[in-house]
Structures are given as C-alpha cells and as structure tokens.
Symmetry: C2
Subunit: 351 residues, 2 copies
C-alpha cells in the first residue's frame, strides 16, 4: 500500500492507495450515519463492497452519470434526500465515483448544515490523481465550470487501483492528461518515467499504477499544503485548464471529457509558451507525442475558433484586475502564471 | 461611534456602530468590483447612500423581501447575475438589508468561485445584534431552516442606528427578542438595564440603541471568537431557537417573524427549565413580562400543538447521536445545553 499525507494542520488527512478499499480509517468505518453518493455506472460495481466497510449500514443516493449532472439541481437533490432521511450534522458523506461525484458530494458536505464529515473514494484515474486531492469542490453553472463551490477537505481519500479495470478506455486516457500535467508543470523526470512505462500503464499493472498515482498525489499534496485556497502557487495546477474549461463549456459539458479538453489546453499552453520563446518546437512536439501516446486529442474541436474561447476565458476564476491569466511553461517541467497575454497574441498564435 | 472587534486571527474584523455609514474601511471602499445585494424595501431608503461610499460605482441586485425568499433559488439568481456581469473572484459582495439578505448574500460570498469578499451592512435590529455577527450564513430548505450554508466571516460590519427609524415596529420588536436572549443566556444585569431603559429604547434614542447593540455584539463576538464553528459554547446562542425554528417552519416562513418565534421559544425554554426546578415561576413571569414589554408574543400559535414541533426538532442542527438537544436556563442569565429532554417531558410541560 502507498500512502500520501496531505499536511494541513488540524485538517491533515491520508490518501491510501491500494488494490482494494481496506485502508479505511476506523473513525470513519464506525460513523453512526453514513450516506454514499454514487452514480448508476459505479454503484453496481462497487457499492456493495463499500457498504461492507461500515459498521452501520449506509444509505445511498445515485446521481446520473456525467458532467452534465454536476449542477445545483443535483446538489439540491442530495440535500433533500439527507433531510428526508433525517441525517444530522454528524452524517458522514462518502463520494464513490469520479470527479463529478467527488466535486458534487464535497460541496454538499461543505454546505449541509454548514458542513459535515466527508470521505472520498475516487474510482476514475482523473479523480484519483487530481480532483479528489486538495479539497476543491464545486458544481457548474451554465455560464461557467466550477463557479459555485467551496474548499472542503475530506477526512481520508481511499484509492483502489482495481477500480481502474472497469474504467472505459477513453476515461482512463482522460485521467492520463492530468498525470502528464504534473510532469509538465513540475517534474521533467516524471515525464520520462511515464514514457518509459507507457506499456505497463496501458496494461494497468497495479504496482506501476500505484506508483504513478502516488507521485501525482504527492505533487498535488505538496502544492496544496503550501497554498490551500489558491492565493498563488496552486494556480499552476491549472495548466491547460483555462483553454480546457472553455472547450468543455463551448462544446457542452459531457461531450468532451475534462481530461481531453485539458490535453488540448496543454498543447495550446505549450504553443503559447513556444511563441514567447520559452519552449522549442521540439518541446511542443514532445508534449504532443506524450499526449497522443496515451490516446489523447491534441487539436481543438473543429467547430471552435479561438474567438469562441474568449468569452469563457474572461470569466475564468484566475482573472485578476480584469486581466486574463494563463499558466504557461517557462520550460518543460516548470510552469509559471502569466498575466500579460492579450487577445492579439492569442489570435496570432491560434487565429 | 462604538466599535467591537471580532477576534478570529487573520480573519478578525471590526463592527462599527454609528448614526451613519461613514465608518467603512478604505480597503473596502476602494474595491474594484462591488455588487450590493438588497431588497425592494431597503433599497429605496439606503442604496444611494451606500453606493456613494464606494470609489468605483457598485452594481446591485434586489431579492424580494422576506424569509420566504431565503432560498436556493434566490442564491442561484444572485450567482447568475454575478456571472452575467462578469464578476471575478475579486468582487466585493455587500449585504444591505436584514437577516435574510445577510444570510443569503453571505452564502453566495462563501460559494461564488469558492469564496469572495463580503461586507455586511445590516439594517434591521435583529441582524445588527445577531445575524450579521459571527459568520453564519445559510438559505432555508422546505424541510428545515438554514439547512444549507457556510461559515463565512465578513471583512467588516457597518451598523447605522439611523436605519432603525425606518424599520416597522413589528420588526423592531422581533429584534428585541434577540437582545433579550443575550441577557437571559449570559448577563442578568443587562436584563435589568433593558427594563430600566425600555422607554428610551422604544423612542429609539441613538446613544441608548448604540450602547444596547454594542453590548449584544460584544457578547456574541466573545462567544464566536472562542467557538467559531459551534463545536460547543456557541450553541447557547440558540436559546429559544429549537422551538422557534419549528414555529417558523410549521407556520410557513415569513408568517411569524424569526424574532417572534424565538420569543415564544424562549418562554418554552424557560418553562422547561422551571419544570426541572432551575427557574422559579417568578423567573418565568419575569421573562414573559420583559418580552411583552417590548411588544413580543409569549404563547405558541393556536394551530400548533406540541406534537407539531417534534418533526422539526428532530431535524434541528443541534441533534447529536440521534438525541434532540435544547438550550435551557440553569438560572436567569446562564444557559446550558441539555441532551436528555424526552418527548414525554415535552408532552408533560406543553401537552
């Protein structure tokens, strides 16, 4: 079993990575009231196994699968369920699913009766390496992704690599986009490691997956413990996300997977970085090859001209003093937040 | 001008009590993006005055007046407005109104882009002495009051006693319920002071009102700084509220004012305390007289038998280990949290 400790003072918690769910802390397993939030895809596979971890029978509620259901309406549906079931401020909410279930459940855990206990059991690669770590929770608004949310840390994250065996290939690839992101923004050696082990990763060798997931979680935990509420450094984790969120919103949530959109976003960030002379053309090609090697798209949707990105990028959460801010690469393995990108520069590079 | 400092480490902030709004901090007055949330009753009276405090013209959105609009739907309406107006994570949200506007705006400030700046300008007595202090924000759910919310501290609370001159008499009385609550739960000398000054309070003498409001804010700030997220002592501020919330929900939000319901709730808490031998019959009569002296009701609604309270009390946020918990009076001026009240005892006292 691999373990990563997220250091946040009194709110520190462990991430346990194993081939099953057995690492669950006793303080959570013995919770008096437990409600599991999942979706109709994940529940038939893992709900019974997760139920069995708890000493008091959990209740559960299923939310339809997909980013299109990460809404305030789903949030309200869960809250109504909790109230109808008479759940008190002591209830433990368990997110069993991917990033959508995790973000949604986390925001309910932050808000129900002004905050209740929260456990993450992420079942997709993307949520295991990224969204389940660090306490960002949210729902989408038709005008922007993750616009309503809270910082809510779980008490534990329990990761079973076995859940990846049931993950559709396309979603596994989408998760790899976030894995590659960590390499690009902070660890060039990790990029080499990923390319060396691409075959084992594709075959889902449990020990290789556990190592890969642990490395991502360590990097994220480090950044989060230094900058929990994104006053600075944490914004670097948004590499590729400003473009990516625009693609997701423009194409309609759920049509492009988040990781796919981020993959294209990273290529765009790399091209912008190359335009500034920070990356070579060879670097851009290397990024592109790495993404393609793991089955990810590298060109923006045909329907979307760069002008289509602008309205979304202007409502990005990183906007400050009215100025768009982008995470670019000062070199491979090192990201930097840039505030002087103009519409003109965007049109030059992508027009 | 009176001032109370709420001590919460890095999130400490001042409450300024004056006859106008001029105490606004420069760091807030100079905010680049400002959105004022108010209602159609308060805005015609004070919006222009508050607008003039800021160096950059604020925008504003009005939410219909009353507890019935402290909903997730109003929350969503404000979020949509902020997104349509292109408000970034730097926006300062200003709550200009009573408890409903404060609680609603505060929850938006906690959640919009995972948290933005927040200023409280409470214009009702109840919000000045209670709901604007301490960072509890929330919206109601049909199955329970304040069931969805967050702890979100403002950067300042600006109180003008002049706003009380335009407050309907019934609402002023409702605010006095919370004032009397402070005396009952922690300061018997304050109860004597209130009765001595009842005439000047009724006449709204500004210096007496400022003293009274300051005393309440001091008591609340003290408790909040020791127990921000209500792990213990802060629950004592709920004196009368378990019964009160049940009355509000049973009668339909907005039909009974919160303070009116709390007044009856405090009488019920006093009677339950007397049943346990903690208060004398004379004490109960004194509480009742004080409430009536300031125009408050002291008997539960005719339509509501004690059995009608139970479903609401069982979903109260203070419920722990499945047990209802009540704030009772161990003596006048001293409250205590009690976990062993049974349905049988409630029926004995109120049946």
């Amino acid at each position: 079993m691999q373990k990563v400790e997220v250091q946040l003072g009194q709110r520190s918690y462990p991430i346990n990575i194993d081939t099953g769910f057995s690492a669950l802390l006793a303080s959570l397993a013995d919770a008096r009231q437990v409600v599991i939030v999942s979706n109709p895809t994940v529940a038939p596979l893992y709900l019974a196994k997760v139920n069995a971890l708890f000493s008091n029978s959990p209740q559960h509620i299923l939310i339809e699968d997909g980013e299109a259901f990460k809404t305030l309406a789903s949030f309200e549906k869960i809250v109504s369920f909790l109230l109808k079931q008479g759940m008190s401020r002591e209830v433990l909410l368990v997110a069993l699913g991917g990033g959508v279930i995790g973000d949604l459940t986390g925001f309910v855990a932050a808000s129900y009766q002004r905050g209740v206990r929260f456990l993450q059991i992420p079942t997709s690669l993307l949520s295991q390496v990224d969204s389940s770590v660090g306490g960002k929770t949210a729902v989408n608004h038709p005008l922007g992704k993750n616009m309503i949310g809270a910082f809510k840390q779980p008490e534990q994250v329990v990761i079973s690599t076995a859940t990846l065996t049931t993950l559709p290939e396309r979603e596994f690839a989408a998760g790899m986009a976030e894995v590659i992101k960590y390499a690009l923004l902070g660890d060039n050696a990790f990029l080499a490691w990923l390319l060396q082990h691409s075959e084992q990763i594709g075959q889902q060798q449990p020990d290789i997956l556990a190592q890969m997931i642990q490395r991502c979680c360590l990097m994220k935990a480090d950044i989060v413990s230094r900058d929990e509420t994104e006053q600075g450094e944490r914004a670097l984790l948004n590499l590729g996300h400003t473009f990516g969120h625009a693609i997701e919103a423009f194409m309609g949530y759920g049509n492009w997977l988040h990781g796919e959109a981020v993959a294209v976003g990273m290529i765009m960030a790399a091209k912008l970085s190359a335009h500034r002379g920070w990356l070579s053309q060879h670097d851009v090609t290397l990024v592109s090859s790495a993404l393609q090697c793991f089955g990810l798209p590298v060109t923006m949707p045909d329907a979307m001209h760069i002008a289509g990105f602008l309205p979304y990028m202007k409502t990005d959460k990183k906007v400050k003093h009215g100025q768009m801010r982008f995470v670019l690469l000062s070199k491979l393995g090192q990201a930097t937040l840039v505030a002087d990108v103009t519409e003109r520069e965007l049109l030059q590079v992508f027009g």
